[in-house]
Symmetry: C2
Subunit: 447 residues, 2 copies
């Protein structure tokens, strides 16, 4: 079996923590593992690293590599989508990559989104076993989850009679209204659609040929040509493009906890609460608060009398909303664009070359960013024609090259890089290099 | 007539904007004038600058001087309280200062807090005229305001029959419960106590002699001795120490708008609202919000579905609360102390030597502050044994002296001051010098 992990998604529903450079799958909610990391760990409970194919976006390559390294899965395959084209094309790309490697059409693939949570591991392994059995009988298999409530943010699967260790799929129902959701939640024939699929490579190709002819035509040209023509690939989900149209599906129930973590409210529900039903992290003083998610970062959050609220500090942006409004966070980007053609603030540079950034504050004429460089990593020579930069080392050991001058800067000290000078910063210590960077100049922001 | 302006108060009810170094009277809510500035302007509608006496705290001296300068009142007298001792002692100190100057006991003084708002100016002048008339007849006069609602945060004055252009004072009622407040608001005999008084110096002395013997004994030794012994002065308000005990009072109604701006809710009520009843300033995207006060500063606030909420970004701290909880902001300091012996974050240095500071963010091992230096002002030589500092010039022209080295730094550039080095920064330009300062080192914060 091979596992195709979909890690290319963007999205702003978890703004201000998620941004286009830091989508949901890279966020760590337990402070230890990102959602992608948890997904990789789950997959490695079933297959070896070399059986993993991670499909992602080129701009996330370095971050995915860090994730693979951190769970000991550097042997995994990385497939880069030239452009984002939703899940049907991403799955097809992963499959095409595997076929190109010589993997036979009879091989079963497990398709897994990387931004969901699920557990326990035993249930997962059991469900995959059942799905594999059905896949080998020629079915495509979707994993269903017993509804824990009348959730309107999920798609539902209606099942029919049993087939092997699962059930026949009768229909898919996209995000329903509250009334329908309530009926589905009480009806044993309905399951949440987890977005995880299990099927053979051959079955996938057959289904594409039957239901997504455009995509099939591209895939059948072979991997290299598919990659070149990937921009022409349809932008549609595998649920809508394939599963909803096909009558050859089966469903295997996953009897554990599952969430697609699609909103701050879902994260609140997942995280451990204190006696007042609050989830509080970071520097926070909360007085008379209940049922609230408060995530601090770098500054004190003083919360008073909050009921079922969200307060999330994302460095250069902060979100405040009632928990039950959290489905609408994605609309903020549109609203901002309509206000003045602006976009949600983007993180300075994301993660490249072992460097990750987090924008802390922007003022008129300056901005401040926290930067981490992993051992051996470097910030490549760069210069800003209209701004100068201060690089302060909070932790670690840096070799800084300004023009021809080279110097070593230790924790507790820093350098100024004047306007127009080029600068390179390298982590020459054993541990992480943590820097706080101030950029000053009228082209920086708002000036 | 002389005007004694009380500008020494502290307080954290408007945290995170107000701090002990930046109390309410120095905050600007209209972006133009601080509450003290507005008070000074009102007073200058009645008297000349040289008739003004501002009583304040030594640590606020420089900021008060800036305020006096900005309204063209540098001719005013400044009286510094050696320690804070509430309003009765502050008024006595102002009076003692005037008597020491040779002002006769028959002179009328207007005592005005500096952290209230009121208007329009015409009503104010008219009320002061009436109060003056009564004061010259030997009465102490308090200004009353017709209750605009059953406010429980104010003190109330019960009046009796008319006396001259005012009414006799029958009693004072401190902050009442809701039921009493409702009754008072509907009863024409009750007024809000504005905390403004009008009386002759002689009347004040007589009343102190009769009702506050301790304080009278200190005042009667003369100004210099009073200042020396000021720490022994009682810490009680003029309302409680004198007015509540005396039967010689009169009340003059002030028929305009008045607020003591004692909570964020009061500020919300005072400020101009948009069509959805929101007051929004700074960088903010608000979606489906109503009746909310959202004050941004340096980072984007994304507000979603807020109803009657407060979101105030104060740089290194942010407040989130329902508007009707805003009376409890003062309790945050206690809660924080009880959590871990911590205090509310203080601004780096307040305003001394023409320098004002605003803390932007604190992380583990670093903090970032925005600093303004007025022309000719300087940050005195200082050094930090365990931290180094980056000084970036956003605007203006600085002469920087590190050890023996002197250099000029222009906007868009900066310097690093290594650990243990001493440093002096002087504004040598014509306009303001604006700097962003990063301190790095394990003794800075949290490291």
């Amino acid at each position: 079996m091979k596992v195709v992990i979909l890690a290319g998604g963007g999205g702003t529903r978890l703004f201000p923590l998620s941004r286009s450079w830091l989508p949901k799958q890279f966020l760590e909610f337990d402070g230890k593992r990102s959602l992608l990391g948890l997904t990789l760990e789950r997959a490695m409970g079933i297959v070896r690293p070399s059986d993993l194919v991670v499909v992602t976006n080129p701009k996330h390559r370095d971050r995915v590599m860090l994730e693979l390294e951190s769970v000991g899965a550097l042997g995994a395959h990385l497939v880069l989508e030239p452009v984002g084209r939703n899940t049907a094309s991403a799955v097809a790309l992963g499959a095409s990559y595997l076929l190109n490697l010589g993997v036979p059409r009879g091989e079963v693939i497990l398709v897994a989104p990387s931004d969901h949570i699920m557990g326990p591991a035993g249930e997962f392994v059991g469900a995959v076993d059942k799905a594999c059995e059905l896949a080998l009988r020629g079915r495509w298999v979707v994993f269903g989850v017993r509804p824990a409530g009348p959730e309107t943010g999920y798609g539902y699967i209606e099942v029919g009679g049993p087939v092997g260790p699962g059930f026949l799929v009768r229909s898919f129902r996209e995000k329903p209204d509250v009334e329908s959701a309530r009926a589905y939640a009480e009806d044993p024939r309905y399951y949440w659609n987890s977005g995880m699929y299990c099927l053979t490579l051959g079955c996938l190709m057959d289904q594409l040929e039957r239901h997504m002819e455009d995509l099939y035509r591209l895939v059948s040209r072979g991997y290299d040509e598919f990659i070149s023509a990937f921009a022409d690939s349809p932008s549609v989900s595998i649920d809508r493009g394939l599963a909803e149209k096909s009558s050859d599906g089966a469903m295997v129930p996953f009897n554990g906890d599952w969430s697609d973590i699609g909103s701050w409210d879902a994260i609140y529900k997942w995280l451990q609460k204190d006696g007042d039903g609050n989830v509080i992290s970071g520097d926070c003083v909360a007085l008379n608060c209940e049922g609230s998610l408060i995530m601090g970062q770098g500054r004190l959050i003083a919360a008073l009398g909050l009921r079922d609220m969200l307060v999330v500090d994302g460095g250069d942006a902060i979100l405040v909303a009632p928990r039950n409004e959290s489905q609408r966070v994605g609309l903020l980007a549109e609203k901002l664009a309509s206000l003045g053609g602006r976009e949600l603030p983007e993180l300075l540079a994301g993660c490249v070359n072992g460097v990750s950034c987090r924008s802390l504050i922007r003022g008129v004429g300056y901005d401040v960013t926290e930067v981490q460089v992993k051992p051996g990593g470097a910030i490549d020579p760069h210069h800003h024609a209209k701004s100068s930069e201060s690089w302060g080392v909070i932790e670690g050991k840096a070799r800084v090259t300004i023009g021809n001058r080279e110097m070593t800067v230790l924790a507790g000290d820093g350098v100024w890089v004047p306007v127009g000078e080029s600068c390179r910063i390298e982590n020459v210590g054993d541990g992480p290099l943590r820097l706080v960077v101030v950029r000053i100049g009228h082209k920086v922001f708002g000036g």
